[in-house]
């Protein structure tokens, strides 16, 4: 991907993130994510009905990479089934680990395909997938 386009997508999602703002609704799962190695601190909420992700929202303070990744992730997952979401997360993880992954499936998330060159930002890029995985595990009673 052209690096200007990549930067534009990331920046746009950072400065105007979608789905920002938590909701007062008990039917949502909720998780807080902050990592030991960095200072990002985000809350995420997710509503699942009949195995379909109906909504995800987030709020908090975080850097450009984790905020934008959260925004893009949320948009890619809404409307998908939980198992589709797990598949996307798996492929995303593979992309960051620099092993084979399904580019089509990831859509806009491929803007992070070079993040592994900056090891100190891997955790930022992984923040949304880890947070969503945590909620899915909770949902599945793990």
């Amino acid at each position: 991907m052209d690096s200007n386009l990549r930067r534009e997508i990331i920046l746009d999602n950072y400065q105007h993130p979608m789905h920002r703002g938590l909701v007062l609704d008990d039917s949502y799962l909720k998780t807080n994510y902050n990592s030991e190695s960095c200072i990002d601190n985000l809350d995420l909420m997710m509503k699942v009905e009949d195995g379909i992700i109906k909504d995800i929202v987030f709020d908090g303070e975080a850097c450009a990479i984790s905020t934008s990744a959260t925004s893009i992730f949320i948009r890619s997952l809404i409307g998908k089934s939980v198992s589709e979401a797990k598949n996307i997360i798996r492929n995303y993880q593979n992309m960051l680990d620099e092993v084979e992954y399904d580019k089509e499936l990831l859509g806009e998330l491929v803007v992070y395909d070079e993040i592994s060159r900056q090891p100190n930002r891997m955790n930022c890029a992984l923040l949304p997938s880890r947070a969503i995985t945590k909620m899915i595990e909770e949902l599945e009673g793990k």
């Binding site: 930067r7 303070e61 990479i65 100190n120």
Partner: protein, 398 residues
Amino acid sequence: MHREDFPMLNSDIVYFDNGATTLKPNCVVRSMVDYYTKHTSNIHRGDYDAAITTNKLYDEAREVVRDFINCNSSKEVVFTSGTTASINMVVFGYMKKHLKRGDEILLTKSEHASNVLPWIKLSEEIGIVIKYIPLNEEFALTVDNVIKSIHSNTKVISIAHVTNVIGDVRNIEAIGQICKEKGILFHVDGAQSVPHMKVDFRKCNIDFLSFSGHKMLGPTGVGVLVGKYNLLEDMDPIFFGGGMNQFFEADNRYEFKNSPVKFEAGTPPIAEVIGLKRAIEYLMDIGMDNIHKHEVELKKYMVSELEKIPNIVMYNKNSDSGILAFNIMDVFSQDTSIYLNHYKIYVRAGNHCTKMLKDEINIKNTVRVSMYLYNNKSDVDKLIHVLKQSKDIFKIVI
């Protein structure tokens, strides 16, 4: 000052993270290498030459600290693993034994986690009550607010001399005097002050003083607790084992040694104590007043230059130390620190372990510049230059 003594500075970096830890001069490293290559041995137990050399250096280190901090005797100097360990020893070795339910402790919301969490834990265990002395509009602590916060149940005041985000210098001499008059125990967290200015244990009527070696040109893994001897006599160790006991028997009888040895169970960080000794000697040669003056002047210069950049917000322009907290408007602090790293300028982003300060500043995270004797105007100029171009920040960090 003395940049040639610090090998890390040969690599063209600007090191502005001295609040986290400092660089080490050659002489400190050399003193430790000598221990490891010429006279490795344990302390207190050997009759051979290497052990005698090591023992002598270890004992001298206490004298050097005594002289540096102006306490009454080297028996008041306990080597620990750092400020955090020192504070935990005071809280669980002394306070737990002497305080009771309902006794009040005064802290502030700009204390480091190490000077809050032990107290919260003790409160959970024995029911002491923690109160926070209000800060003024510059997030600093005034003597007036200290006086207003004291009640008949106030038993302890435990505060940083210099705080690690705001860098305000508390008037510990006045506060120590008040504590003396009211019979309140006074613990000072010296982690950010002892490395940077003259701290006088006796003059300030301090009861306990904690600080770390690695923030004052010394090695990691060593710190100091200085305590008034009569208090140390009444304090229990929190670690038990070799070196600190007189005897112990199968019928559970035992006797501990006296302070400071009583608090140094097991093999202490010998190389680190030797390195710390050398670091203190080095600092004293330069003179603590000179170091403080240098940092304050440099900070004033930095503030005056930063004021010319419109999108910079500073949070503690006026504090009298080498610490400056700022943000680039609308940029998350970590993005700023990653940006600066691109130009080899090392700063810190975050809440700096003072998670309660967000209640006061309304900003959770800041970029922190913290200076030391080896920083100079050229370091500041590099920072200013890069911040002036920060409209391109996302070209660098993304």
